[in-house]
């Protein structure tokens, strides 16, 4: 978030700088509006900790509670080989429309050292729980539309032949490459003995042309203790979740497989502060020569309780 509000790195020509500031101004306005919403809610709503597994890329069956709004920033920093260090920030607004339907809007931006800071696009996603009761494996359908340019470095998923070369291209070149894609995921999630195990199978199609691309994400996590204590404490084991996740690309419909794909894996952990935000952290390590060395991820999320009640009159 701060990176979007900070001036760009490096020297730029006058026209590029003007163009940059136009985009920068738009991004700043969008983010300022989101902050306004957050501040407006502060007085009227109660914040509560989110209760979700600590994954960054993998989705579990956990949906947003109906009427709640989760506001989160997803931050990613990396220094790929032969490329400038970068920091990507995604603002996430997640709303529980129904107990079986969650809808989310993402606004994405990034800053690259020695290059520029820019707004890279948005995505709108919906998740639908398909079965009315809990089973050994719980399927959730995910449908997303995204409109992002090639300078996006949020790495919210890896598909097809996404590689380190995408991160090495200067922003001035990659930002003109806008893609509008539809993405579907089959989310399979299980809960057993306190563990959550989730698998995501991803397929993505650029509506402007190109083959279907595939990817995967798998995560497993568990709270440090399964039984809650009776006092409100911050660093209690009940407030901490830990696990691991691995994700990567699986090529395209023409060349399905692991060739020329990138993969990442790493431990994940989160801290649910009572009546406060949830903080999540993960170092994720590239597993193939196409991957960046290490990606540092850090999320902060707030859940605004029952936003819809602001618009309801108390039942008589």
């Amino acid at each position: 978030m701060l990176s979007l509000l900070s001036p760009p790195f490096g020297r730029r020509c006058k026209c590029a700088r003007r163009a940059h500031f136009a985009i920068f101004h738009d991004a700043r306005r969008t983010i300022a509006a989101a902050f306004f919403l957050l501040l407006a809610c502060t007085g009227a709503c109660k914040f509560v900790r989110a209760q979700e597994p600590p994954y960054f890329v993998t989705y579990s069956e956990a949906l947003e509670e109906p009427g709640n709004l989760e506001i989160a920033t997803k931050n990613l920093a990396g220094r790929p080989h032969d490329a400038h260090a970068f920091e990507s920030t995604t603002l996430e607004l997640e709303y529980g429309a129904k107990a079986w339907w969650t809808t989310e809007l993402y606004l994405q931006g990034q800053a690259t050292a020695g290059d520029s800071t820019l707004f890279t696009g948005f995505r709108w996603e919906n998740r639908f729980r398909t079965l009315p009761t809990e089973h050994w494996v719980n399927p959730v359908l995910y449908i997303e539309y995204e409109d992002v340019n090639g300078a996006d470095k949020s790495i919210l998923e890896v598909t097809g032949h996404d590689s380190i070369q995408d991160l090495q291209t200067p922003n001035g070149e990659s930002r003109g490459d806008v893609s509008r894609t539809m993405e579907g995921k089959l989310i399979l999630s299980s809960n057993a003995k306190g563990w959550n195990i989730s698998e995501n199978w991803i397929m993505e199609k650029n509506l402007m042309g190109g083959a279907w691309e595939y990817g995967y994400a798998v995560g497993a996590s568990r709270p440090l203790t399964l039984k809650a204590g009776g006092r409100n404490c911050v660093f209690c084991r009940q407030n901490i979740g830990a696990g691991a996740e691995v994700y990567g690309g699986l090529g395209t419909v023409r060349d399905f497989g692991f060739d020329d794909t990138s993969h990442y894996a790493g431990p994940v952990a989160n801290l649910n502060l009572p009546h406060g935000p949830t903080l999540s952290f993960s170092p994720q390590f590239g597993l193939s020569s196409n991957s960046a060395g290490v990606l540092w991820r850090f999320d902060v999320s707030y859940e605004v309780q029952q936003l819809r009640d602001l618009f309801h009159r108390e039942a008589q």
């Binding site: 109660k46 509560v48 209760q51 509670e65 009761t133 809990e134 399964l226 108390e314 039942a315």
Partner: protein
Amino acid sequence: MTSTRVRLSVFCLLIISAAAVLASDGSWLRKVPAADRARVNPYAGQPEAIHAGAVLFADHCAECHGSDALGRHGRPNLRSNEVRHATDGELGWVLRNGVLWKGMPSWSILPEPERWQIVAYLRSLPPADTASVKTGRH
């Protein structure tokens, strides 16, 4: 031939939708399998579990059901006779599965011991004063 197939598909969809609506009508209690209904809360009556359940209730349930569990904005009163007469197993089943079509989310992401602690807390609540009871049903 094609139009017949389309009509048949639409008819089947209507039948399935009607069946789903009928199946979702009525109390969630009827949907609880017998094995789940008979389950016993391992923390029943334990003061520590009740206290922990109160904290969990405040974190996850009070937003809809109210801090007094009497229900808010037409959402169910958890001190009603229906809830008081349900077995621990039935309450545990609802917490795990939710009643999705009626707005109650699944809490399967909470570990099972924590769900039992919430049930223990609900059991410790006194019956609602009949004058202030708001009737809400899932």
